[in-house]
C-alpha cells in the first residue's frame, strides 16, 4: 500500500493513547480522509469529553472543546453559520449515548450536515472503566463489579437502532475498528479488513457531509486497560462478543457513497 503524507496529523504522529487502544487508528484515518478529500483547511473539529478529548493534540485542524455530551449542539451552530466548512466530532459512547443522547438525537433529527464519529469501547474509558449505556450484559466494570444487570439497567443501547428513527440522517454505519486476531501455527497475526472498512467509512462520512447530509459512524473498539484484559484478549473479545451485541453494517446511505 502506498504510504501517504498526513498533513493533518502532527509531525510526531505518536498519540498518547494506551497501547492497544484503537483511538489513534481512528485519528489517523480521519487525518488521511481529510487529506484525501482536500478539506483539512476548512475542517473544524469539535471535541467531546472522554478519551476523545485528546484528539485535538493530534489533528492539525481548528478546534472547539465542547462540554461533555454537547458536541452536536456546538457543531450545529458552527455549521449553520459556516455552511461551506466541514464540521466533525469524535465522541465516545458515554459522551454520545449517556449524557449527550438528547443533543445527538436532536442534531440528527434536524439533519444539519455534520459528521460524528463515535468510538464505542463499551465503558467510560477516561474516568477509569465505569459502566456505559453500551456495556454488554454481564460485563464487569468498576461500577458493575458483578456484571451489568440488564433487569435493572436495561440492555445496552444500540446507537444505530436509535438513530435509524430519524429520517434526515443520510449516512449511518457501524464498523469494527479492532483488527481481528488470526491464529496461525506459531504466531498471531491481525487482519487488515477492519482498518480498510473503517477508513472507507470515515471517507464516506465526510463525503456525505460535503453532499449536504448528516453522517454518523460507530466504531466498535477496545479498551483493554479498563476491560482488564491483555491487548490480544481484548481484540478477541470484540470479535467474539462485541460483534454479536453490535453487529457491523450499513444502516443508511442516502447518497449511495458506500457503493461508489
Amino acid at each position: 500500500m502506498e504510504v501517504k503524507q498526513f498533513s493533518s496529523i502532527f509531525e510526531n504522529g505518536v498519540t498518547t493513547y494506551c497501547p492497544g487502544c484503537e483511538h489513534g487508528l481512528l485519528l489517523k484515518f480521519i487525518g488521511m480522509a481529510l487529506d484525501e478529500l482536500g478539506i483539512t483547511e476548512k475542517a473544524i473539529m469539535v471535541g467531546s469529553v472522554g478519551c476523545s478529548t485528546l484528539a485535538y493534540k493530534f489533528l492539525n485542524v481548528d478546534y472547539v472543546q465542547a462540554p461533555h455530551g454537547r458536541a452536536p449542539a456546538v457543531m450545529s451552530a458552527i455549521k449553520l453559520l459556516e455552511k461551506d466548512k466541514v464540521v466533525f466530532a469524535i465522541q465516545g459512547d458515554g459522551d454520545a449515548l449517556s449524557i449527550g443522547i438528547a443533543e445527538l438525537m436532536h442534531a440528527a433529527n434536524r439533519g444539519i450536515p455534520l459528521t460524528i464519529f463515535m468510538y464505542n469501547n463499551m465503558v467510560f474509558g477516561m474516568t477509569g472503566g465505569q459502566m456505559a449505556p453500551t456495556t454488554p450484559e454481564g460485563m464487569k466494570t468498576t461500577t458493575t463489579p458483578f456484571g451489568r444487570d440488564v433487569k435493572q439497567m436495561g440492555p445496552p443501547i444500540d446507537a444505530c437502532k436509535v438513530l435509524s428513527a430519524f429520517p434526515q440522517i443520510s449516512y449511518l454505519k457501524r464498523v469494527v475498528i479492532t483488527p481481528k486476531p488470526i491464529y496461525t501455527k506459531d504466531r498471531v497475526m491481525y487482519s487488515s479488513k477492519e482498518a480498510m472498512d473503517s477508513y472507507k467509512a470515515v471517507l464516506n462520512a465526510f463525503k456525505t457531509q460535503l453532499m449536504g447530509g448528516f453522517s454518523f459512524v460507530e466504531f466498535i473498539g477496545t479498551c483493554n486497560v479498563n476491560w482488564k484484559m491483555t491487548i490480544l484478549d481484548s481484540k478477541k473479545y470484540v470479535h467474539d462478543v462485541g460483534v454479536k451485541v453490535y453487529p457491523p453494517g450499513l444502516c443508511r446511505d442516502v447518497y449511495g457513497v458506500d457503493k461508489k
Binding site: D62, Y63, V64, A66, P67, R70, A77, K85
Partner: protein, 345 residues
Amino acid sequence: MKRLIMGAKAIAEAAVRSGLEAYFGYPITPSSEIMENISVLYGEGKYPWFKVFLQSASEIESVNMLFGAGAAGYVSMTATSGPGLSLMAEGISYAYASEAPFLIIDVNRGGPGLGNVAPEQSDVSFVLNSLGHGGVKPIVLAPHTVQESMEHVHKGFELAFAYRTPVILLTDALIVHMYDTVEWDPPYVVKPKVDWAARGRNYGQRHIINSIYLDPPELKANKERLLQKQKEIEKIAESECFMCDEEMDVLYIAIGISARISKEAVLRLRNEGVKAGLFRPITLSPLDKDGLLKYSSRAKKIVSVEMNEGQLAQEITRIVRRDVEVLPYLGGYIPDVEEVAETWR
C-alpha cells in the same frame, strides 16, 4: 422620535438592529416574547446579517449553540429565565474559560425551583457569585427601563466581543412585559476583527477554542490571564446616583424595576424635605465600588430595595462594611413607593 413599545419587542429590535447574527432559544416564561419577536424579525428577512434563528431542544442546547457561534466569532444571543439559566451554567463556564462571546438575557422570575412566573430579582447572587463551576465572572448589566434595556443589548454585544466573554443582561418579568416610551435607534455594531475564531485553518495557524489545560502550570497561567482580564473589565464599571448630595439622610440601593420605583420614593421624600438619594449599579458586575463607597459614606442610612431576600445587600455589605437595611419583596410582589419611603420616615 418617541414611541411606545413593549420591553420584549424593544429588546428583540435592539438585538437585530445591533447586528445579531444568530439566535438560539428555548421557550420559558417570562422570556418567550423576546424569542417570538425575534422570530418575526428573522422571518421578515430585512436584516442580511441575521443568519440563523433556531429553537433549541433545551437550554443546555441553547447555551452550547451560543458557545459554538461565539467560538466561530458570530454575534449571538438567547433569552431565558432562572430555571433555564441554571441549565446554562455549565456552558457559560466553558465559554468563559475558552473566551467565547455571547449575550444572555436573563428575565428573572420567582424562584427557587419552579417558583412562579411573576417578577423577582432572585438570580442576583447566582450571576454574581460564579455563574457555573470553577469561578466564573461574566459581565452583568442591569437596565431599569425599556430604553435602557435596548441600550444594554447593544452594549452587551460590544462588551462580549471587546473582552471575549459571556455577558448577562439581568432584567425581570416586569420590564420585559411593560409598555414604555423609548427614543433611541441602535446603531449597527461594528464587530472587531475575529482572527481568533474557529472557522477553519485556511492555510494559516490553527484556532483553538479550548478550556482544557491538563498540566497545572498551564491551567494556572490561563486562570491568571482570565483574572488579569477581569481587572481590565473593572474599568467599565458604571453606576447612577440619583439626587445624591454631599450629605444624605438615606441612600437607597436598587437595580432594575426596584430602582425605577425607588426613584419615585426618593422624589416623595425630597418633597418632604428628607435628603434621600438612590445609588443604582448599571453594570452589576463589575460593580462600581468607588462610586458605592463614595456615596454610601455620605448617607446616614443605607436601604437596599430588592425583589428577593437581600442578595444585592449581601454584595453591598461586603464592600461598604456597614449595616445595610434590606427591604425585601418576595414571591412576585413589586416594591411600593410608600413602603420604600416609609423605611426612612
